[in-house]
Amino acid sequence: MSELIELSAAEAAAKVRAREIDPAELFDAYRDRAAADRLNAFTWVADSAPDSEPSAEAPLAGVPLAVKDLFCTEGVPSQAGSRILEGYLPPYTATVVSKLLSAGAPLLGKTNQDEFAMGSSNENSAFGPVLNPWDRGRVPGGSSGGSAAAVAAGLAPWAIGTDTGGSIRQPAALCGIVGLKPTYGACSRYGMIAFASSLDQAGPLTRDVTDAALLFSQMVGRDHRDSTSLAFPGPTELPRAEDLRGISLGVPEELVTGAQDGTGIEPGVRESFEATLRIAEGLGASVHPCRLPHAPHALSAYYLIAPAEASANLARFDGVRYGLRIDGDADLETMYSHTRAAGFGPEVKRRIMLGTYALSSGYYDAYYGTALKVRTKISEDFRTAFADFDFVVTPTSPWTAFELGAKTDDPLAMYLNDFCTVPMPLAGIPAISIPSGLSDGLPVGFQLAGPAFSEGKLLDAAYALERAIGFDGSEVRR
């Protein structure tokens, strides 16, 4: 049994294909572990594998998949971590999920998350916080904390999550796994419960870079149901790079070296980051400082744009058609306000208020309009940087996993988690986080960001680095 769990998803798929392991047995091994979850990583676990045995020839060969609760799955609770959607059973399945199911990955369970993906610690879930498998007194990161914790703890071979401002990469970093935020438009958003439509992207959370590449290869593609999706250029192959010769890495001063109060990178994180840069150089990469002059404003722009879009995206949760409804016999206004007051958590309410304010007549130009201009500047900064560098690299999170409750009273401190991860989604570009080592026994993430649709190259570089780093996360899977 435990040997099964020790296989990476790609290894397990290969063994299923070679008929060395039975996919039903593989499913049951993970199902039992997910059902016994002590991390609160799952909000729903499948009773059994789907009736139709996955074809061994299918690309994902029966390796079960954990899915963030933000994705709609037909007939299976899809609650987005919110009381307002408690027990909601969608009548359809998100495009990305149905692509993965038909590529041969059966649905193992739905994973816990910050409510509507709003959070960096998973403490904003209506279904309770997720615990970090490296230290159960600490947060797993968020918002895809359930997916990250489940993969790190070996409760799932792999998982998908969503990233709006860092929601895949930051929990991947805090849990010691790999997380990829693809280029905006690479994966369909159809069926993904929207937080901030112009930023949301689905992506894999996996034990290693090869698994990420394999899962990602089955997620991409133009979907006629999502007007913002694009055909992924070229085939997505598994990474093979042995070294980083000819690769140039830019270290943005504004995000890494300019340590301001509060945004400062923890010494242990900085140490691991610097060590990884030396490893990269050892693999043949050149490492130089680079500039992203507007990056320090990314967080401010993000916390206007994302809440603005969220304020409209969450308006549909009104108690009229589905989900929670309070005082249905009262007048309309009362029903609306009681339903939303009871259904949404404090962070969601805070962001709806922020976003509503930012879009209000008389404030639009000063807030939302200015944020859009900053966003354009940030895209230009990256374009300029990529003229000289293949990738921009930063620590994924300024900190390792912090203690539960440590930042819940200080939203601004919580938002600073995303300091290094927010600029990329604003520019729509892909970024990956890989484990670079431990600091005081807690994992540290190393982030690489590349130009739009550079995922192939990005995964290759991450793969070469991963092999050289040799991070071992097996202790938390026991």
Partner: protein, 495 residues
């Protein structure tokens, strides 16, 4: 003048003496596409509730809109028909408001960069034309059928997401009658485009009016109010009339007009305030992030242009300029496509060709009067060829106009060939060549009223009336009035 009823512009404003009403219209047109604006559900009217729905038009979590290409084509056709500029790149926005008829909590609409800008139809300038989606329908269950006093309200999402084009005019209308007439032209134009059913009773054409008044000669606009729910041409006219009256009364009393939205109740004829400017929604428009900008390519525009037929205003101009019809009858024909089509079909088969066009145009109203004003003459027993023959006979003086009217009545009742009817019924024109026919009756008239004959002989033309009347009575209208006059003058020997 190519439509839009300018000559009636100032009519009907006795209530507003000294004031000039200024009216702009906002018209919502449901497009007649196969499917909804942003999803694949079919359009419907009158079906059982909530059978044409899907995750997208129900606003289920995670669902995303996709623009209906046919709706875009129809909107471009409307833009072209209204002489608008088609924007190569336009945007969809979210218009945020909470109401159960709006399942997403926002309507997807175009805001600062609409698909079509500017333009003109008849006398009225077009401000803009844009695409959006229709709301769901609320049904208030209970005795009253209205929101007040109902037991509960339920929502039917069949209509939700139906493609809508909103047409906004400049404030170029100046009377309720002119508004009515212009809206008729717009409806005819849209019907001719084939892009909508344009049925006000079924809601596929809806009209709001912005109304203000100002002292005659003033250049600044007065404070406007917005009138909603005028779901018939008559209600539009009544509602606007009522509002002009109300505003003038206020101004006469020295009281200000307050900017507000008013609801017209056609039953009571009353206007009730829905909300004032202070209560106006802040819709918090922002660009719809689920859609990419709408790019109207040259190819899309030329494909749409090929679908635009000759439009009423152009047709009226052609009938007037090429066929010599009066402006009024050219418009009366062109603004009802079936009449113009019938007219042109008859003209095409008339032996005398275009020479009879003016006469023929006068006979279409005669036909309409006999078959009912809403009927399509093409569906009547009178073929275009039959009418053409009859009109040719009139112009050739083979039949008098009075007799021809009788023939037309028979044609409407039983169909057939007008020549045969004239023959069978002996309705052929009596003329001077008829030997002892018409000349004999004229002589009879002169001897029956020698006084009149003497006056005519002395040069008093007015005295000819009784003599003509006598002949007409005797011939039962079969003789042509002009011919009778000529004969009388000849017989009495007027110099």
């Amino acid at each position: 003048m190519s439509g839009g009823g300018g000559e009636r512009g100032a009519a009907g404003n006795e209530i507003a003496a000294g004031y000039e009403p200024v009216i702009g219209l906002e018209i919502h047109v449901q497009l007649k596409t196969q499917t909804k604006m942003f999803c694949g559900c079919p359009l419907s009217f009158g079906d059982p509730p909530n059978i044409h729905t899907c995750p997208v038009c129900l606003g289920l979590p995670g669902a995303l809109p996709v623009v209906n290409a046919r709706a875009v084509q129809y909107a471009i056709m409307i833009g072209l028909a209204l002489d608008s500029e088609i924007a190569p790149r336009s945007l969809f926005h979210r218009k945020n408001y909470f109401y159960p008829d709006s399942p997403k909590g926002y309507q997807i609409s175009q805001y600062d960069v609409p698909l079509c800008s500017g333009g003109r139809l008849g006398d009225v300038r077009i401000h803009r034309v844009h695409l959006e989606e229709d709301a769901a329908k609320l049904i208030h269950v209970g005795a009253s059928g209205r929101i007040h006093g109902s037991d509960r309200s339920v929502v039917d999402f069949n209509r939700c997401g139906t493609p809508l084009v909103e047409i906004v005019t400049e404030p170029d209308l100046h009377s309720p009658e002119q508004a009515h007439e212009w809206l008729t032209l717009l409806r005819t134009t849209l019907r001719q485009l084939g892009v909508s059913d344009v049925n006000m009773a079924e809601g596929s054409l809806r009209c709001d009016a912005n109304v203000s008044v100002r002292p005659v000669g003033a250049t600044e606009l007065g404070t406007k109010t917005e009138l909603k729910n005028m779901n018939s041409f008559r209600f539009l006219e009544q509602g606007v009339h009522k509002e002009i009256e109300r505003q003038v009364t206020l101004l006469e009393r020295g009281a200000p007009v307050v900017q507000e939205t008013l609801h017209f109740d056609p039953v009571s004829g009353q206007l009730t305030a829905l909300r004032s400017k202070e209560e106006a929604h802040d819709y918090r428009y922002f660009p719809e992030p689920d859609l990419v900008p709408l790019l109207a390519t040259e190819e899309m525009i030329s494909v749409a242009a090929e679908q635009v037929p000759e439009l009423p205003a152009d047709r009226a101009r052609r009938l007037e300029l090429e066929l010599g019809l009066s402006a009024g009858s050219a418009r009366d024909l062109a603004f009802r496509r079936e009449l113009a089509d019938y007219f042109e079909a008859a003209l095409a088969v008339a032996d005398a060709g275009q020479a009879v066009a003016v006469e023929l145009s006068k006979w279409i109203p005669q036909l309409v009067e006999r078959i009912g004003s809403d009927a399509d003459p093409a569906a009547s027993r009178v073929s275009p060829a039959a009418l053409a023959t009859l009109v040719t006979m009139v112009t050739a003086r083979e039949v008098s106009r009075d007799a021809a009217r009788e023939v037309l009545t028979r044609l409407v009742a039983e169909g057939g060939d007008p020549r045969e009817i004239v023959e069978r019924e002996g309705l052929g024109a009596l003329s001077a060549d008829d030997g002892d026919g018409l000349p004999a009756i004229v002589d009879e008239a002169i001897s029956a009223d020698p006084d009149a004959a003497a006056k005519v002989r002395a040069g008093n033309d007015k005295a000819i009336g009784p003599l003509v009347g006598y002949v007409m009575r005797q011939t039962k209208g079969r003789a042509d009035g002009g011919e009778i006059r000529r004969l009388i003058l000849e017989r009495v020997g007027q110099p």
